[in-house]
Amino acid sequence: MDKHVTFSPQGVCAREISFDIVDNHIFNVKFTGGCAGNTQGVAILIDGMEARAAVKRIKGINCHNGTSCPDQLAAAIEQCLSDMGA
């Protein structure tokens, strides 16, 4: 199933994360708020990656409060995969 996801991250500067998931691959990640350069970098590097491979890479990255924008993206992808029963 293909889906557009909007996620409200917790404990980070970004206020919202959105992305498309197509055949379990991640596309068009967009962060609202957060460090512009870093979040754009993460979004571009992750574009087209298999969802679980992306999670494996970015989950657990810490900026502050034990989480980060990429870590929250990983949480969003995991939640989406779980919702989709993948």
Binding site: D2, T6, D20, V22, D23, H25, D47, G48
Partner: protein
Amino acid sequence: MINKLYDFKDVVIPDALLKASVSHEEIDGELYLAAQRFTTIAPAFDGICNGDIVVLKIPDEQHPDGVQQVFVNMGRGFFDSEEALLGLCAGVQTQVFCEGKTVPATILAVKRKHIPKLTDESVCQLKIEGVATIADYENYVFENKVAQQRQRRMKGIFEIASKAVLAHTEFAPIGDDNEWYRTLYNGTMIQLETMAQQTGKSVDEIMPEALRMSGKTADECRRALKEMCEEHVKLGALGLYYAKQDGVEYTLEESIARMQAYMPQLGQTEISEVEENMLISDIIQRYKEYFQKVISDYYGDKIQVVLQ
């Protein structure tokens, strides 16, 4: 600390700061962003266009099946042969340039995003208090934009007003006998001494960089620090003046009591001198913010924001 106050209401604020506008385009843009939340993605059977996600099957000797799937996010420029794919449909076989060579490729699928028009029903799903229709949402966006414009302009207004008030108000001399000034200046110097010890350098050596005054000598830094502390104290004093008029008071005793309530959790029994200095600095800052609030309250309604 104040001998003769200059009223900030006498400061002439440029018209540009008292007028702002929100455009229909800005509101439409926000509506489009909201609509994007309801984006659906579905297979497309007509020609590939930018924004589509294309699934290609290309030969791959290293893969157990002898083929691999490649996902192309059209228009992003990450795939060499994006242009060659434009206009082709799912099921078509073509040639693409991939990993340094031209290879045959089959277009397995084309996925396209569809952004629906915002409806009252979808607006309700945004779960914003008091927003149930598109008209409500337009109004909500407008109010938010107005608040943003006001906030931005208030920064400029405060800058101009506080500069003028500082320049024209007569303050009593501020020096080492002033507790606020002493706390701010000595507090910064103690921090610099700690940093110097940690880095094995002298205070004079680390001062320009630590105070973000690169290129200045240590003496120039000291002078600038003194001026900064003096200005901070003056702004605090202005806040104190208006706070008193409103019956508002921030005391060290109150700050200490608040901190003492948390001390058992921190395993602390007493407040150090450094911590007490920090509490005093915090009080000065709160009074400075009070002055800012007084100016904001006065000018807030004077900023006219129109929809164009």
